[in-house]
């Protein structure tokens, strides 16, 4: 029984590790997307302000 249990635990630990890496990557990706989105918003606001000042 122990050989089978070892093999099964090994397989599920590896799959779990892979899924954890996927989740970590997704969270990093969302963080970068948010930062980029903020940057674009700031750019737009600055552009609007400069247009308003010029007017």
């Amino acid at each position: 029984m122990s050989t089978f249990v070892t093999a099964y635990l090994l397989v599920w630990a590896a799959i779990f590790w892979h899924v954890l890496r996927l989740v970590a990557r997704q969270s990093r990706l969302e963080q970068t997307a948010r930062a980029l989105n903020n940057q674009v918003q700031e750019m737009q606001e600055r552009e609007e302000q400069s247009v308003a000042r010029a007017a």
Binding site: I15, H18, L22, L36
Partner: protein, 229 residues
Amino acid sequence: MHSRLWCIPVAALVAAAILAVCLVAPTEETMGDAQRIVYIHVAMAWLALVGFLIVGAAGAMYLRGRNLLWDHWAQAAAELGWLCASLTLATGSLWAHAAWNTWWTWDPRLLTSFILWAAYSGYLLVRGSLDDPHRRARLGAVLAIVGVFDVPLVIMATRWFRGMHPTSPGMDPTMRLVLWLSVFSFTGLFVLLLAIRRRQLRQEGLLADLERQTPLEDRYAKERTCLPS
């Protein structure tokens, strides 16, 4: 979104397979419970082979049209395939110790499986060392197409060469059914993880493009504002 919808049926399938392996499959007379490794070992080996075929096919499609979307499929399949190839060797080694009283032997099937694992590892290492996406995809595709030639060797190794690894031993009908269920459920999990990772790689690519398009002046201005005065 679509991937999330598939999570529930795949999880149910996997749970059913685990229960079937532990409770439904009969215990083999000679090897006892150690024989139950077959249900995960065969599934992992099958997915390692399928994974490399996907890597090779996606590589060929990339070379045909130079579309990086194919490269995302190749990378996602390679990462999962490497995991399956590693688990094939690990579970096989555990089984070999129980059946042959040795962790490893240079049997033709074992040797060709090891070559497949090395091909996956080499492929991922080469990809990891290159920054340019197209160069990475091109070189990866060539390596994958060369590596694909090992897949038929793995499959036919037990028929073409004499070794210790069994070809396809006769099985009790319940055992065969549980084996099919296990292979099917792990394939479902593989496809789900592949789709999620592929989408993630596409998003990473889009973000990298967007970052490149952001005007440098603005980035420098932002960095200056972040610096302590």
